[in-house]
């Protein structure tokens, strides 16, 4: 019991965050669940050490991201596009427009490469710095910049309706 002391509390506190991250990465609820479960499982195996880290949450996130990338390497294919159809008739106003944009964005994200998608999620959704993103992904800062530039360019091409949201200012945010 002592070996896993505090683990359940950690899972309860961080589970939502990791599920959201995993869902953004995989675009699929079941794969997100598998990914989170595996990441927590690996953390549990080393929990006595993990719990002593300054940022156990960052460590588990790194496990999750690495697991996602390595899983993709093993499968050699991007997750199936799980997005639904774009609503034919937006209900009303901004809410309808936002729903359409979410569908378009999920569809476009699904067509990015794994590393492009990862850099978008870490850099923009997680709001990590370039250095932290590079550390999470195990690559150089220059690589992060290049990947993000490519990812945004591809998103603009895939979802031109959202080109105004994907301007260069995203890339230069510190």
């Amino acid at each position: 019991v002592e070996a896993f002391e505090g683990f359940r509390e950690f899972v309860a506190a961080r589970s939502g965050e990791y599920f959201r991250l995993a869902y953004l990465l995989t675009g699929d609820h079941h794969r997100a669940e598998d990914l989170v479960q595996t990441a927590f499982g690996k953390a549990a195996a080393r929990w006595p050490r993990v719990v002593r880290y300054d940022r156990p949450d960052a460590y588990v996130r790194r496990i999750l991201v690495n697991e996602y990338i390595s899983l993709w390497r093993r499968r050699r294919r991007v997750a199936e596009d799980p997005v639904g159809d774009v609503p034919d008739r937006p209900a009303r106003g901004d809410e309808a427009e936002a729903a359409v944009r979410r569908v378009l964005l999920r569809r476009a994200l699904a067509r990015l490469t794994v590393r492009q998608r990862t850099v978008v999620v870490l850099r923009i959704y997680q709001d990590l710095s370039e250095a932290d993103t590079a550390a999470e992904m195990g690559c150089s800062v220059g690589n992060v910049k290049r990947l993000l530039h490519q990812a945004l360019a591809r998103l603009r091409a895939l979802a031109p309706e959202m080109a105004d949201l994907l301007h260069d200012r995203v890339e230069v945010t510190a």
């Binding site: 899972v11 964005l105 923009i124 945010t173």
Partner: protein
């Protein structure tokens, strides 16, 4: 930026968190056990591997030194003495055969002396048994049901009924057989067709030369081509005309390569002359005392070289201009590919077993009981090097029924 991030937040908000703590803990415990037991398991596995390898090494005989495969005749002892009895030939490989022998010319069990220096009893009669030139394939038969066995492996196959091997190709790839039927009124009936058998596959091809009275097959080359000698004044049909003619100072020796149907090539050795064909003394005696042509002597054993390009045979009549001398024999070595006579000269009455290249033959002393000395014989120098003293009724690799000395 804010809007894009908000969109990502919205999408992330669609995630459906579930409680995975128990499953994660189960994974964690399993991984911890593996981590703890891992070194123990690896050590145990390593110990098992080392133990197994050690036992295997102890039980495995030391590898034989890598020596080049020696010709079968170099494995023969100075003198071969067959045992009174021998076990039957096992189903597994015995490496190859060195000779076949029998206590009597007919009706006694046939013994095989194998390259593993053991004796085995083989079925059939000595009259119908034969070893391939390299000693790998054994042909046995009771006269009607032939069987070909790979002595280096376990493969065997039955050729068609009544087939009897005539020649093996150097290199053990082909056997040339003919069908020998018992005639209705007694005696033997020769089919006239030649069956070439590819030993590795058992595939056959038939050659119908159609002029058995005026030609004689001398062998089959490693390529599968047949070597056929025809008399100079004999009709060559259905063989096309020879493609090359060699005119020597001693007479015309025509050597050609002809195609028979689509089944293969025939090397046709045409020997023009005074119509001498038989080796019968009477016919030869009827000719002038000075030779006028090369004469191929029927019944002499030609020997194909290992590369199949050279043919050696004994000649009953000396070169043109030389006095006839019935006490000696004459030999010529011919390159089949070019028709060039490599060497010719007078030789003693030896029976060639194998042409070893240059002017060297493996030969055996011709005796009535098929015993005698086996030796290397240099045609040019006449030097003999004994190889082995053979027991009576012995058939050596490459010798078929009609090649046995009588």
């Amino acid at each position: 930026v804010t809007t894009f991030k908000n969109l990502l937040d919205d999408i992330a908000g669609e995630a459906r968190p579930v409680d995975v703590a128990d499953r994660a803990l189960a994974i964690g415990r399993r991984r911890r056990r593996l981590v703890r037991l891992g070194p123990v398991a690896v050590a145990a596995l390593l110990a098992v591997v080392l133990l197994t390898t050690g036992l295997a090494l102890r039980n495995t005989p030391p590898p034989r030194p890598a020596t080049p495969a020696a010709p079968w005749y170099e494995s023969l002892p100075a003198s071969v003495t067959p045992p009174a009895t021998a076990p039957p030939l096992p189903a597994g490989p015995v490496g190859g055969g060195l000779l076949l022998t029998s206590a009597c010319a007919a009706g006694c069990p046939v013994l095989l002396y194998a390259t593993d220096n053991r004796w085995y009893r083989v079925p059939g009669t000595l009259q119908h048994a034969s070893l391939s030139p390299d000693g790998r394939w054994l042909w046995t038969s009771d006269g009607r049901h032939p069987q070909v066995r790979d002595l280096a492996g376990t493969r065997s196959f039955p050729p068609a009924e009544y087939l009897q091997v005539m020649f093996w190709s150097p290199g053990d790839r082909w056997a040339l057989a003919e069908k020998v039927h018992p005639a209705a009124g007694g005696g033997t009936l020769y089919d006239g067709g030649l069956i070439r058998i590819e030993l590795a596959t058992g595939r056959t091809a038939r050659f119908d030369l159609g002029h058995v009275e005026t030609s004689q097959t001398l062998g089959v080359l490693p390529s599968g081509d047949l070597v056929v000698a025809t008399r100079g004044d004999a009709p060559t049909a259905p063989l096309p005309s020879p493609t090359a003619t060699l005119r020597t100072a001693r007479g015309d020796l025509v050597i050609g390569i002809s195609r028979v149907g689509v089944k293969g090539f025939v090397h046709q050795v045409t020997l023009p002359g005074a119509g001498l064909w038989s080796s019968g003394t009477e016919e030869v005696m009827g000719h002038p005392p000075v030779s006028t042509a090369w004469q191929w002597e029927a019944g002499a054993t030609p020997a194909l070289s290992a590369d199949g390009t050279t043919l050696d045979y004994n000649n009953g009549v000396p070169p043109i201009g030389k006095p006839l001398d019935y006490g000696g024999r004459w030999a010529i070595i011919v390159q089949l590919a070019t028709g060039a006579a490599v060497w010719s000269g007078r030789v003693d009455s030896d029976t060639p077993v194998r042409y070893l290249g240059g002017t060297e033959l493996l030969a055996r002393q011709p005796t009535q009981d098929r015993s005698g000395q086996l030796y290397r014989y240099d045609l040019a120098t006449g030097v003999r090097q004994p190889v082995s003293q053979l027991p009576p009724n012995t058939s050596l690799p490459g010798e078929a029924l009609d090649q046995l000395p009588t």
